[in-house]
């Protein structure tokens, strides 16, 4: 199964908070909701940085502010301090809160875990958006879809 994901291949932000904001800006939600989603992601990061495979950050949560699994992928050639380790790939995802969401969220976590386990180094080294999305098992979602 391929998941739809928003993408910004070259991130301009240089800190964790800015990257989260830059990726949330791709979401089709209002400014207030984006601010509250940033709060939820910040809480999650505060209790443990979501860095895996040395250079991949996975900020994520479930929130009542989204009605479907929403994924945004970003890449930074300069690297982003997260905050102690530098990451160059960010996969931000937010699952909704409804009856079936915990199972769907768990299934998606398994999907990401599998991709990182099998292709983590390739994901970090990917040189273009298509390659990155393919390695992660995503298809590009146009903004507003």
């Amino acid at each position: 199964m391929k998941y739809s994901a928003l993408s910004k291949f070259e991130l301009s932000a240089s800190s964790r908070d800015e990257v989260i904001k830059e990726l949330l800006d791709l979401f089709s939600v209002g400014e207030k909701s984006r601010g509250l989603l940033a709060v939820a992601l910040d809480i999650r990061e505060k209790v443990g940085a979501t860095v895996v495979h040395s250079s991949i950050a996975l900020p994520h949560c479930r929130s009542i502010l989204v009605d479907k699994l929403t994924i945004a992928v970003g890449k930074s050639s300069a690297g982003i301090p997260w905050p102690e380790e530098k990451v160059n790939t960010v996969v931000l995802f937010i699952s909704p809160v409804n009856l079936t969401a915990p199972q769907e969220h768990s299934k998606f976590l398994a999907h990401i875990a599998g991709k990182i386990k099998n292709s983590g180094d390739k994901i970090i080294a990917s040189s273009n958006q298509d390659e990155l999305l393919k390695l992660l098992g995503f298809q590009l979602e146009k903004q507003g879809e």
Partner: protein
């Protein structure tokens, strides 16, 4: 948006995080991804306490009561209906552009309602 409503939404998201980390399947997946979950649950619970202090007793009490009763205290309005019980919400409230500037509750189930922006 009403500041108390913002805090109630964040509290709800925080409670979902706590519930998720209490689920074996989700915790197992997070560990498989290489994330460290030890201690996270306790830290989230501490953060929850801090968060609750910023919420007025009246709304905190209602939130806790609704959570105990329904499992979810805050729900979005969808097409003019409460997403919790599907009751049609008053048209005057739904059409008010400032509807999120105060806390509204569903006239039937009592859940706290917000309108997505």
């Amino acid at each position: 948006m009403d500041k108390q409503l913002e805090k109630l939404i964040s509290l709800h998201d925080l409670d979902v995080m706590i519930a998720d980390l209490n689920r074996k399947d989700i915790r197992k997946r997070e560990v498989e991804m290489g994330l460290h979950t030890e201690g996270a649950l306790e830290e989230l619970k501490e953060l929850r306490e801090t968060y609750c202090k910023g919420i007025k007793r009246k709304w905190r009490g209602l939130y806790n009561q609704l959570t105990r009763h329904y499992g979810n205290a805050v729900v979005p309005a969808l097409m003019g209906r409460c997403a919790g019980c599907l009751t049609r919400l008053p048209t005057a409230v739904c059409s008010d552009p400032e509807r999120n500037s105060k806390i509204h509750t569903c006239p039937t189930c009592g859940r706290i309602i917000y309108w997505a922006d």
